[in-house]
């Protein structure tokens, strides 16, 4: 026998220790464990042994074979792990603090407030309508029980147009058309842009948004009006809003009311925001005047209804703490880009 089992083992381990590349491991595997490999070859020598020793010898060779296989496998795994480690270590760490390249858009604050209010009313079965900005005298005044020479026309500084039409001064201008379009019973809101011919400052704009609502059915009462206003405003402000009604004069409602809500800033105790009254005047409302219903083709014997107006611009300013109304029409993205949703 040229080489003993033990010598072969040592020789194998020595060579495995020196090997360090994937091909070298493969070479060793072929050299020792291949069909003509040195360890495999030992088994071929078995015939020369005494039969009683064959079993023991065979077991030893097999043990060596297994040991060699395991050793090679282990070295391969180790090498792979080291390689992976190096690869991972070499991988670039990305700069997560780099600014995003995706541009984020923004909504106009009026859009956000309008959608919120629209959703509340849609959930209560109101139709959401839309109306022209350019209207005529009939829709803006006559049909709303505001005859010629009525002082209410002076209160509204109207923009008149060269073609005899005018810019709507209030969303109520849509009432007649909507009554005619749907008839009774009817529940609808109609947000819209309104115009008043006045000079602008931090609190005044010639272009602003309102939202009008009407509900017409048999037996609609003042009690219903208060219920709807309280429910709607509690949803808008996300709190249980206390409301109070005071008499208010608007030609298109009778009785007419000014609706106040409890001041959120002081909780009704009185503060500068509510002029120490604990209440904020928020929206005019009332029972639709029979003349307005008649003009809209509604049978006043059968139906009554209420109407209310909500200043969307004012609501947006309250909600977001916008102090200067002119910011809204400024087109200045440095302020408007904040209104994301």
């Amino acid at each position: 026998m040229a080489i003993t089992l033990e010598e072969l083992r040592q020789q194998f381990h020595e060579q495995l220790r020196q090997a360090n590349a994937a091909e070298a491991f493969e070479d060793l595997r072929v050299r020792y464990l291949g069909k003509k490999g040195e360890i495999t070859g030992l088994l071929r020598n078995m015939g020369a042994l005494a039969p009683e020793k064959r079993k023991e010898y065979g077991a030893k060779v097999n043990a060596l074979k297994e040991e060699a296989e395991m050793s090679i496998k282990k070295r391969i795994e180790e090498a792979h792990a080291r390689e992976l480690e190096l690869k991972i270590a070499a991988t670039e760490r990305y700069d997560l603090t780099l600014p995003s390249t995706l541009s984020e858009g923004s909504y106009h604050p009026i859009t956000l407030v309008q959608r919120e209010v629209e959703q509340i009313f849609a959930s209560m079965g109101f139709t959401i309508e839309d109306y022209d900005e350019i209207v005529d005298d009939y829709h803006c005044f006559e049909a709303l029980n505001i005859p010629k020479h009525h002082p209410a026309r002076d209160m509204q500084d109207t923009y008149y147009l060269s073609n005899g039409q005018l810019l709507k001064t209030h969303t109520s201008a849509a009432q007649n058309a909507i009554m005619r379009k749907y008839g009774a019973p009817l529940r609808a809101i109609f947000p819209g842009r309104c115009f008043r011919n006045e000079s602008t400052d931090a609190c005044h704009e010639n272009t602003f948004f309102q939202m009008e609502g009407i509900m017409i059915d048999e037996n609609i009462s003042i009690s219903n009006l208060i219920y709807f206003m309280k429910t709607m405003l509690s949803e808008v402000f996300q709190r249980d809003v206390k409301v109070r009604l005071r008499p208010g004069f608007f030609p298109f409602v009778e009785p007419g009311f000014e609706l106040d809500i409890s001041c959120a800033i002081c909780g009704g105790k009185g503060c500068p925001s509510c002029k120490n009254s604990g209440w904020l005047e928020l929206c005019p409302c009332g029972m639709i005047h029979p003349n307005v219903l008649k003009a809209g083709g509604i049978d006043t014997e059968k139906y009554t209804g209420f109407a209310f107006g909500l200043g969307l611009t004012r609501l947006a300013m309250m909600k977001y703490g916008i102090k200067d109304i002119r910011d809204l029409n400024s087109g200045n993205l440095r302020s408007l880009n904040q209104f994301v949703k």
């Binding site: 995706l102 541009s103 858009g105 923004s106 909504y107 106009h108 009026i110 079965g125 959401i128 309508e129 839309d130 022209d132 900005e133 350019i134 005529d136 209410a152 002076d154 209160m155 923009y159 008149y160 147009l161 060269s162 073609n163 039409q165 810019l167 019973p185 529940r187 115009f195 272009t207 509900m215 059915d217 037996n219 009462s221 003042i222 009690s223 219903n224 208060i226 219920y227 709807f228 429910t231 009604l245 005071r246 008499p247 004069f249 009778e254 009785p255 007419g256 000014e258 002029k275 029972m287 005047h289 029979p290 009554t304 029409n329 087109g331 200045n332 993205l333 408007l336 880009n337 994301v340």
Partner: protein
């Protein structure tokens, strides 16, 4: 308007009630109270004193040393008032007393110690400024605290005038007292009047012609031998607390009657008036009013005349030529009602709004004239018993408002209120407010009082307000409606608007802005964009902002420019209204329009095509239809002649997309790429969404065939694929662009996809189709690339 609770208490006994609480209820039941003032509380310890001696001050020409008689003792003080006089009775604040803004201590005035102060009206808080001491009547009891003699203490509240526009009856204390009577459920006292009938035997005040159209009632009465010049202190206090200034007895009386009844009256010096007329003048002329300002009177303006000469602007202000003066001892009192519209228009024409005109324009009750005359005389004769009424009450009552009677039943009230207000409550409220009520079995016949019948209360719904406001809205039980549920279809325009905004903001990162409906001429000029010819504002305040926009870009491009340093690439958009001229009937052709303006530092071609893809994606999402883009000639100054395209959806042109004309682009940002887009949302709304029809996918594999062409630079993708569609093989399912390369020549690789529903296709089966089309293309000089 300011309201004195002392004055109210003359007419309705409110004793034992909390005044501040009543005022709060007034806000809830009648009109908004803006402020409440507790006046006179600062005045303490001020007593009546008589000046006994006046000595010169050793160190001052202007100051005097006064010895004062306080009844049971005397006191001394230094006084600087110019009107001191021995025997004069004045309010005196001794050491420790307090007046407005100060407590009296010991002071050394020009070297002399003074422990007390004689007071002016201003120091007692009943005048803005005073030139001397307040003179008290000669019989004022010495040593008596002035607060026990005169009503310095009062609660005064201010009502928002705007909340009284529809209530002519609330422009005087008596009307307000009527409200308190209903709110507090206490009786309203009748007002004390002089009986005019007893003067019927006297000569009339000569009245000439009275304008039959604009003057509803003109009445006058004369009083002679008026000796008193100064109003009683209590009257002065009330006038001042209610925002007026004491002037002289006659002027104060007219103001007092107006503040009490809401009816303006005018006092002419009888020497200056002859036959009184009410008329308009055909020719304009100048007229000097009481305030010494010359006013231009035009033919519309109603004037009061004396012997044909103008003496007053009817319902607004008297003339300087007939004013009450120092030696006036005879007054001719005018009590009249004029057309509210006429007074309002006159007042705004001549730019003069007075306490009188403010009241007249609310449509006063003509019945008030005689009441005001009776009240004026009652007060005058009480203050100056020597005065004599010298004429009969001369009355030209030309227009009577119709009496209004309303009928309704309790069911009507219940239907409006939704709650149960009892017959008795309805009855009491209306009666206290002066309505004549007859009720039988819950059926009401209601007579509207004259002071509410000029315009305010005309229909049963108006009466509902009277009942409910006094009942108190705070006392309403509130509940939801009993209405049938109905499905609500969203409007297509609203749904489109929402989807477009969401896509532009969320998918494409654009910013929504709002701009005005009109063009800013200056900003457009800066951008070299001409102002459009369009409908314009007749009465806009800014002459540079009157013409309505015909396109969104007229207002969005200036916004793009103002934001040009905001980011290297950004876009703004707005869905607003544009006015594309007038329709055939002359009305404005108002269109809901989407405008998008993009600025980027990427290549213009990239930005333009991205914008095209953006709108195509949005439109396909909305209508399930692919838009096409057709190059058109620009019509607006900002549209580039090379790259302006119509956006066509389902055969209709609904918008325009364009790069920006170099002339305009240079004014916005020379270096940036700019793209604009306008979409007519109303036109879009008319296009219906295409149906989704399910087609089963073929079970057989299809084949793709790539073809590479070399073409001239101006050959478009559509030029290449068009003939394939024109002669379409039934198995062709689509053509896509694989690659495009432009250098000296343009090369384009397209992929034809074929699928058959019945078999697996072989290339040979479509080759003849391809060859046929290639031949057509070759005629247009579009050829396959030869390798």
């Amino acid at each position: 308007m300011k309201v004195s609770m002392n004055w109210i208490s003359d007419h309705v006994d409110l004793s034992g009630l909390d005044i501040d609480d009543l005022i709060h209820r007034f806000t809830l039941s009648t009109a908004e109270v803006e402020d409440v003032y507790h006046l006179g509380t600062e005045i303490n310890g001020v007593v009546v004193a008589e000046i006994k001696t006046i000595e010169a001050h050793p160190n001052s020409q202007k100051l005097h040393l006064l010895e004062l008689d306080l009844g049971d003792h005397t006191d001394r003080c230094v006084c600087g008032a110019p009107n001191v006089r021995v025997g004069m009775r004045v309010p005196f604040a001794p050491f420790g007393a307090s007046v407005v803004g100060m407590t009296i201590g010991e002071a050394t005035i020009a070297g002399v110690v003074s422990r007390g102060m004689c007071c002016s009206a201003a120091e007692l808080g009943i005048a803005d400024s005073s030139s001397g001491l307040l003179e008290l009547p000669a019989d004022a009891p010495l040593g008596k605290p002035v607060k026990e003699l005169y009503a310095f203490e009062d609660t005064v509240f201010e009502v928002d005038n705007k909340s009284l526009t529809n209530r002519p009856d609330l422009w005087g204390h008596y009307g307000i007292a009527r409200e308190f009577s209903a709110i507090a459920k206490r009786p309203l006292k009748p007002i004390a009047l002089d009986d005019l009938a007893k003067y019927d035997a006297l000569e009339p005040v000569p009245l000439g012609s009275i304008d039959p159209e604009l003057c509803y009632r003109y009445s006058a009465i004369r009083a002679d031998h008026i000796q008193k010049k100064v109003s009683p202190i209590d009257m002065q206090i009330r006038l001042y607390y209610c925002g007026m200034r004491a002037i002289s007895l006659l002027a104060d009386l007219t103001n007092y009657v107006m503040l009490e009844l809401g009816q303006p009256t005018h006092a002419f010096d009888s020497r200056m008036v002859g036959t009184i007329g009410v008329q308009r003048f055909p020719e304009p002329f100048a007229f000097k009013t009481l305030d010494d300002v010359e006013r231009k009177i035009d033919p519309e303006t109603l004037m009061i005349t004396s012997d044909g000469k103008p003496v007053a602007v009817a319902g607004v202000m008297g003339g300087l030529n007939s004013e009450i003066v120092a030696d006036t001892d005879s007054v001719t009192l005018e009590c009249a009602t004029f057309s509210a519209v006429s007074v309002r228009k006159t007042s705004s024409r001549i730019g003069l709004r007075t306490d009188a005109s403010m009241r007249y324009e609310k449509t006063l009750d003509p019945e008030l004239c005689a009441i005001a005359a009776g009240r004026f005389l009652k007060l005058l004769l009480a203050i100056d018993p020597e005065a004599k009424v010298a004429s009969r009450y001369t009355d030209c009552y030309q227009y009577h408002y119709p009496e209004i009677e309303l009928h309704f039943d309790k069911k009507f009230v219940d239907r409006y209120t939704g709650i149960d207000i009892s017959d008795a409550q309805i009855n009491e409220t209306l009666t206290r407010l002066g309505f004549g009520v007859t009720e039988q079995n819950s059926v009401f016949d209601v007579k509207v009082p004259s002071w509410r019948a000029t315009k305010d209360v005309t229909i049963p719904a108006d009466v509902i307000e009277e009942i409910t406001r006094i009942y108190g809205y705070d006392n309403f039980r509130i509940e939801t409606t009993m209405s049938a549920l109905r499905p609500v279809q969203p409007l297509r325009v609203k749904a489109d608007e929402k989807a477009v905004k969401d896509a532009l903001v969320k998918t494409f990162g654009l910013h929504e802005v709002h701009t005005y409906l009109w063009c800013d001429a200056k900003k457009l000029k800066d951008l070299k964009i001409p102002l459009p010819e369009n409908v314009y504002l007749l009465n806009g305040m800014n002459p540079d902002a009157t013409v309505l926009r015909t396109a969104m870009m007229q207002t969005l491009l200036p916004v793009l420019k103002e934001n040009r340093f905001y980011a290297p690439a950004f876009g703004v958009f707005e869905i607003g209204r544009t006015v594309k001229g007038q329709k055939e009937d002359g009305t404005a052709n108002e269109r809901r329009t989407l405008g998008v303006a993009l600025l980027s530092h990427e290549k213009e071609r990239t930005v333009f095509l991205a914008a095209r893809d953006m709108i195509a994606a949005i439109l396909f999402d909305l209508r399930r239809i692919h838009p096409t883009f057709e190059r058109v000639q620009p019509i607006n100054a900002w549209e580039h002649p090379a790259n302006t395209a119509a956006i066509v959806l389902d055969g209709s042109t609904i918008g325009t997309i364009s790069t920006v004309h170099p002339e305009v682009a240079a004014e916005i940002d020379k270096k940036a790429s700019l793209v604009t887009l306008e979409l007519d949302m109303d036109a879009l709304a008319e296009i219906k969404e295409a149906d989704l029809k399910y087609r089963e996918a073929s079970r057989f594999p299809g084949i793709d065939i790539d073809l590479s062409f070399v073409v001239d630079k101006d050959v478009t993708f559509a030029d290449v694929v068009g003939p394939f569609y024109a002669d379409r093989d039934e198995t062709l399912v689509g053509i896509s662009l694989v690659d495009i390369y432009e250098a000296d020549v343009k090369s384009m690789t397209i992929r034809l996809s074929f699928v058959s529903p019945v078999k697996t296709l072989q290339k040979a089966e479509v080759q003849s189709y391809i060859d046929r089309v290639l031949k057509v293309l070759a005629e247009k000089n579009i050829r396959l690339r030869t390798v």
